[in-house]
Symmetry: C2
Amino acid sequence: MRCRKCGQRAAINMRHHRLSLCSTHFKEWLIDQTQRFIEKYQMFTPSDRLLVAVSGGKDSLSLWDILWRLGYQTVGLYIDLGINGGIHYSARSRQCALQFAEERGLELDIYDLRSEIGRDLPDLADENRRGKEKPCSTCGLVKRYVMNRSAMKQGYDALVTAHNLDDEAAILLANTLDWSLEHLSRGLPVMPAGAGFAKKVKPFCRISERESAAYSILRGIEYMEDECPYSAGSKQLFFKHHLNEWEDEMPGVKLRFYKNYLKAMEAGAFPARQDSAEILSLQQCGVCGQPTTADGLCVFCRMTARK
Amino acid sequence: MRCRKCGQRAAINMRHHRLSLCSTHFKEWLIDQTQRFIEKYQMFTPSDRLLVAVSGGKDSLSLWDILWRLGYQTVGLYIDLGINGGIHYSARSRQCALQFAEERGLELDIYDLRSEIGRDLPDLADENRRGKEKPCSTCGLVKRYVMNRSAMKQGYDALVTAHNLDDEAAILLANTLDWSLEHLSRGLPVMPAGAGFAKKVKPFCRISERESAAYSILRGIEYMEDECPYSAGSKQLFFKHHLNEWEDEMPGVKLRFYKNYLKAMEAGAFPARQDSAEILSLQQCGVCGQPTTADGLCVFCRMTARK
């Protein structure tokens, strides 16, 4: 395989794009693609201040690197959940994020769950979950809460997450099995600000996991390679596995699935949910001021107060 | 495992219904379920004359048997496509359908493609397909055409097909990957009559393949067990295989997928396509009078005239 641009030995062959590129041209290409999607979906402009959610993994560090090279104004946000489970998961991820920011002279905010509320995510999940449930739903709740609050408090123009095509396709597939109109109407690359929620954008929504991994490797970014110790057996991994099997059989199916979904949304497949009862009945949490459907305290404040 | 109704040894355990039944109670249950869905989706009543598409396989013979036992007025339609491929596929299927009808004193219409147009499906597909394409799309076209024309010509109140839950879920999954609004808006248990099309109904849409197979075995129906020789490697089998893997992991997922889709349709997903440009521009074929989007001849008449 040869690079289509220069004829040198290719570093990556992207079957679904019918495109092979060498290391230099692949890195250039991925930066261009990311910029293209930022513009196409009107995510943000160079004058915007962006809060980038950084986990220390390949996706968020590759994305942050690209946004930095493109000249965007970014600050990183690392949420230390205290998940260590024998492999020092959070400690090592945090170290990758810190080192990355330091090497580039970028600012990284750290939210440390234990310092803030007195316990780690596994403790919190133990208090909340019934039976053998995984801590993933508590984790998602905490991360969404902290990301939104940080973006709102400090007046960022957008909250950037590094969800890639594989993530988006797997979530979409899971939501499609349930035909949850509420969830299906929210799978877009941009969710506008409103009702106490920051604008949320996903510049990597059409970049595959494999492409973002290749970028971080070819760029020499040191990232946390291990998966979260709780992710084994998760529904998301299950759907990713099946989508990978489909991709082998029908190259491009993941991208087609996601792009056609976006087209269907544009064509009015799911009548907009902006005016749904849930949004209209939002209130402010009495403690933190964040939006909540509950009376009085939001779920996060109730959960973290309880002890 | 014991039958929930009588405590005898169960003949089948349906995990997704959390229900085990003996042979007698399972047969009773499947008949009741079928009647329930006929009523729920307002498919037809005892005064309607029904044309039942019969392939000679487990689904169509089980369904026909149940409709007969429920006292509906049915005539079967067998389409002999002349697919023999070493295993005498069409000849043996036809024999199963004939024997079934004879044993019950039911009327079976036979449409023999070779007698009607002078060649078999494999010939027709060879003339039409480009490269290595499977004959499945030509076959689907011929069957839809013949079924509709037969139902319209003889004034039947509804055309009944034995699509089961596995079929419907696999088609739905394939259409969802493409997010084809046109196709997604047509996956309902009942498609009303109109614009030259007969009313189409699927009383087995919520009955799994395994349940319909169990019914035909426990009832002693002799059906064609082989799959069509062209089906190997088909996309539909591919999606069925994956849905079966999901069903093992999450019992009930197929039924949930299909039922939630129906709910979403009711809630206004995929705004009705009845007034789509395609439907509005339908014309009558100059030869057979069937509806067509083409000027002059319909696809079937063009295809079968060409030689």
